[in-house]
């Protein structure tokens, strides 16, 4: 079976979720990936949505973060203040999934404004939502975002959610509990923070993608790891499960 770059990205993200992890899920690609993981290799994955549903087991892809199917199938439904205060803030959630309008070389994320002037933005984006505290409090963060020079910038115009700040030690200095972004999964490959200086480094490429393509799609001089592995192509069961979820027709 052939597959699209987006499908590869989603499958790679799903595979990053293991066992009975608790996963804080946003709508869109993160939700698709988390639901795919639960249907394939991680049936005990606990899906937590910021709308207050804990342990939702949707039988179809939820169409919004507050889809009725989440409340109807959850182990528990709590109010939004409780979700943030009792469940997210103390670090009970292992993995947070985030998207980004901009992401920089240290994994900091912007979903607020494009342009240098907050008061007079070139593009006004939706804003923070739950992201700053997801980025702060989850055990680790996985970012899913399509790779382009517009999105992968040297410095984000606005820090909505802290990745690794300006480098090593910044998270600890700020008092952030979680380890921050450990994986940035794109349609081209995977970036990981360098263990020493926390700069995002290309460590994996999806099948058929070259390091040059990834470098060209990055707004800073992207560092390439000494050993870059190749993502295993999506398997037939993975693609079947994914397309059953998204309702996508089999690809051409």
């Amino acid at each position: 079976m052939s597959w699209t770059a987006d499908e590869m990205m989603t499958v790679a993200a799903a595979r990053a979720l293991r066992g009975d992890t608790r996963c804080f899920v946003g709508i869109g690609l993160p939700s698709t990936a988390a639901n795919l993981a639960r249907r394939t290799h991680a049936p005990d994955l606990v899906l937590v949505y910021e709308s207050g549903t804990i342990g939702a087991k949707p039988d179809r892809l939820p169409l919004s973060i507050g889809d009725g199917v989440l409340a109807a199938t959850a182990d528990a439904v709590v109010g939004v203040p409780e979700m943030f205060n009792y469940w997210l803030q103390p670090g009970r959630i292992g993995v947070g999934f985030l998207g980004a309008a901009q992401i920089d070389r240290h994994g900091n994320i912007n979903t607020t404004v494009i342009g240098p002037d907050y008061a007079d933005p070139r593009v006004r984006l939706p804003g923070a939502g739950g992201a700053p505290e997801i980025a702060a409090s989850c055990g680790e963060v996985i970012v899913i975002v399509r790779q382009s020079t517009r999105t992968f910038v040297d410095r984000v115009d606005f820090v909505t959610s802290v990745g690794h700040g300006d480098g090593p030690g910044d998270r600890a200095r700020l008092g952030l509990r979680g380890r921050g972004p450990v994986l940035v999964i794109t349609d081209l490959g995977v970036l990981e923070p360098d263990p020493d200086d926390r700069e995002l480094t290309l460590t994996r490429l999806h099948p058929g993608v070259t390091a040059e393509q990834a470098v060209a799609a990055t707004g800073w001089k992207l560092r390439v790891a000494d050993t870059v592995t190749t993502t295993e192509a999506p398997s037939e069961p993975e693609l079947t499960a994914l397309r059953a979820l998204t309702g996508a027709k089999e690809h051409p």
């Binding site: 709508i27 169409l63 919004s64 439904v77 203040p81 607020t112 739950g130 702060a136 998270r171």
Partner: protein
């Protein structure tokens, strides 16, 4: 007690005045859209609109020129994209300039909690390291008197009017809602005046698993508005109209198309 239950138009006329701070809440679920349309129809101006997730109904209120300021944490068309009327107001001051006060979900939720609790502020682990505190005056550091640790304080939200949609009320105005309950309870309790629109008025509120009940004496007015959450939904009564969210993108992108839509509401 049945004096608490009034027609929607009467409730909005009584409770919502020009210049008020008004919160219409509902986290994806039970959004009081019909009440928002009634505010548009009554031509309210200069409102400070408060909402965690401004979506279609706030795009409509902003485009209609009701708002002077928006206090929020995520302004978008969920699952679809941007709010074009909101963008047009922020980027081009159309139809009027829109001041913004921007928070995170955790911050907004805790501001309502403080408001409902009669406290002037709430404490959270939030915003640290982000650029939000530099642009939002209502975020301040606070030091734990026991550990010396620095955390973040946000001031209470106490809207003049809090409005939510719910599944049911009884004739005494006791209100019951279930499913995703968001910050419904907090916004009603934090607000000086409150309005709950409901799908159904019943003789007795039979218990429902997961349901929250607000006693009538904690609510100012109740209005019977079946379908009042459309295009959002009321669990057990209606489904989310996902097509409408999609369709809104095209309507809202264009000032002309929006103005036409608006004429339909105010006609």
């Amino acid at each position: 007690m049945s004096g608490r239950i009034v027609p929607l138009a009467d409730a909005v006329a009584e409770l919502v005045h020009d210049g008020d701070t008004v919160a219409l809440e509902g986290f994806t679920h039970l959004i009081p859209v019909a009440a928002g349309h009634e505010i548009i129809r009554q031509g309210r101006r200069g409102l400070t609109l408060v909402r965690m997730t401004p979506d279609i109904v706030y795009d409509q209120l902003i485009g209609a020129g009701c708002a002077a300021k928006l206090v929020f944490s995520w302004a978008g068309n969920p699952g679809v994209g941007s709010l074009h009327r909101f963008r047009d107001a922020v980027q081009h001051a159309w139809p009027a300039p829109l001041e913004i006060e921007e928070h995170s979900h955790a911050g907004m939720a805790n501001r309502y909690v403080a408001g409902a609790s009669g406290l002037p502020f709430a404490v959270l682990r939030g915003y640290l390291g982000t650029d939000l505190p530099a642009h939002t005056a209502t975020i301040a550091p606070i030091t734990c008197p026991f550990t010396g640790e620095t955390l973040t304080a946000v001031p209470a939200l106490n809207p003049d009017v809090g409005i939510v949609h719910a599944q049911r009320a009884d004739r005494a105005g006791n209100v019951q809602f279930w499913g995703i309950t968001g910050v419904h309870k907090e916004v009603v309790l934090a607000s000086a005046r409150s309005l709950v629109t409901v799908e159904e008025v019943v003789d007795e509120l039979t218990p429902v698993p997961g349901a929250v009940v607000l006693p009538g004496w904690a609510v100012t007015r109740v209005a019977h508005v079946p379908g009042g959450a459309h295009p959002s939904y009321a669990m057990g009564y209606s489904d989310r109209d996902n097509d409408y969210y999609q369709a809104w993108d095209a309507i809202s992108r264009d000032r002309g198309a929006f103005t036409e839509w608006l004429a339909g509401v105010t006609a």
